[in-house]
Subunit: 325 residues, 2 copies
């Protein structure tokens, strides 16, 4: 069905904010059919001039931190201040029942039915890099359709936090109050990657604990190396339940964007993200060529096992493989 | 000259701790001649069974932190406790005058002339990945020659800190007392990567400041996510000048190694490092095949520029390139 709409029709429809066409366009880019993939590539090229003017926010946090609830409250805050918000996801497990807002209909509330919001579950699983690429293209389509704020949530497993940093401007880390166990689910390196931290559930008996945690994290961040752009990551507290602190998160991100636009960092970062996407895609395509030779994929896996066990050097293995091309 | 020695002669010589042969073997693996590269690959395969029994320590820090002085003191401490120490470097600038111990003969002192020490400057510059691979192979050769502690220092520019983490067991970060300016030269993510921190120059008037910095960094680390293996990174102070704190650094690393050997993490980490080296080498070789086609390298660079500027989508560019293969 998607193939009966021309590129020009897609582009015009997106420019008019046609949500049905946006959904179909995203379905098209997710398709694995070669003819759809070619059409999708032409569509992305056609809409590139209409993209780039949004804020791209990555949101991550361990299961139980209240990500769905936060995104609901944050999304409504943005809409009430005049924004048009798209919510996408990177979910390698492709399971909509593992803590993503997009799988939890009981928490979708007002956001999912608001005319200025667009919510789309993650693409079906492929390689993690492929999934990130599809989400990147979905982001561009949402921008072409007039959404000025794109939220990309990660279901916090494996590498998805690092992935989301490749396609967003601002990386927001949701945290629970306290150290120790609450830090267990967070991958090393993620806190230093964050542009802002939000301590959630700062209500009732947890309020004082959340404020104490904010001081401690702010202090810890002070002893980490500075952001290359000069931006100093901030730590906020919020309660989706009490509806407090959400506006401050929005204000922080707006200050960040103003700062990074003024010093050229935003442009430089996006340029580098584009380059990374290209290099990775190229590497994957080259590997596909390698695997198209019968039996070579299995041989690579066998050699990799020998290398992992220290019984074969990488250089010899690679030489063996390349000889066969 | 190197090619007139057989693989078996190399192996036996290394097993006997022949330093002259070790030097020649490292020169062989660094050579770019195809016949040398083939011989080097066979040599590495032959000595693999003789490797793996050392401690591999990566040491990094900003220029001015006192890295050369520390490595001199630390190396002598290790030797005095019965170890045999090799010191290698990853230096992408290939300039031996930019703060590496290996370029600073005035600071080499006792270590460079001790029979139980072996010091080798970085290989000539190539790709950063290639440089890391050569250092990896040099590490294996040193192990085959009986060195039980391998120190790999990085000249702290660009990506070399991340590189050294791919080929070492313990990542040691040298720091100056204080925050703010002193943190300027450290890349984001490096502190969270460290298995241990050492505040240097804890002597004279700087002593109290160094101790205060240790408390603050230990506190900051407490609020970062834990190491997946359960190891809690420690913060030490030392003074190469007063000869204090050096033995404590050695003790910390020994405790780390015992901990990681007991829980299987060391083996798992090395296995993953081997796999990474393989995958990266394979990717580079595939890219070399791509670039062997005349004009394709330049075209890739032109397309990359268009992509960086947001004027072309990565997918289309990659498609264009792959069609030509």
């Amino acid at each position: 069905m998607a193939s009966t709409i021309s590129i020009e029709q897609y582009r015009e429809g997106l420019q008019q904010g046609n949500i049905a066409l946006l959904s179909r366009a995203i379905t098209l880019i997710e398709s694995r059919r070669p003819d759809h993939q070619r059409q999708a590539a032409r569509l992305i090229d056609a809409i590139l001039p209409d993209t780039g003017k949004s804020v791209r926010i990555g949101i991550t946090g361990v299961p139980g931190v209240g990500k769905s609830t936060f995104i609901e409250a944050f999304g409504m805050q943005l809409i009430e201040s005049g924004k048009k918000v798209a919510v996408l996801a990177i979910d390698p497990s492709s399971s909509i029942s593992k803590g993503s807002i997009l799988g939890d209909k009981t928490r979708m509330g007002q956001l999912s039915v608001h005319p200025h919001a667009f919510i789309r579950p993650s693409a079906a699983s492929g390689s993690l890099g492929g999934l990130t690429y599809k989400t990147r293209e979905a982001t561009l389509l949402c921008e072409a359709a007039g959404f000025d704020t794109i939220i990309i949530e990660t279901v916090g497993v494996g590498q998805s936090e690092t992935e989301v940093s490749h396609i967003t401007d601002f990386f927001l880390l949701l945290m629970l109050a306290g150290a120790g166990d609450e830090l267990q689910g967070i991958k090393r390196g993620i806190m230093e990657m964050a542009d802002g931290l939000v301590i959630t559930k700062a209500d009732g008996e947890n309020k004082e604990k959340a404020k104490a945690a904010r001081s401690e994290y702010a202090r810890a961040l002070h002893f980490l190396p500075p952001h290359p752009s000069g931006w100093i990551p901030e730590v906020k507290v919020c309660s989706a339940y009490d509806q407090t602190g959400i506006a401050e998160v929005q204000a922080m991100i707006e200050r960040y964007m103003a700062h990074q636009q003024a010093n050229g960092y935003l442009e430089q970062n996006r340029s580098e993200q584009n380059r990374f996407a290209f290099r990775r895609l190229l590497g994957e395509q080259l590997q596909q060529i390698l695997y198209s030779k019968p039996g070579l994929k299995e041989e690579v896996q066998l050699l990799e096992q020998e290398i992992r066990n220290g019984r074969l050097s990488p250089y010899s293995a690679v030489d063996r493989i390349i000889q066969q091309l």
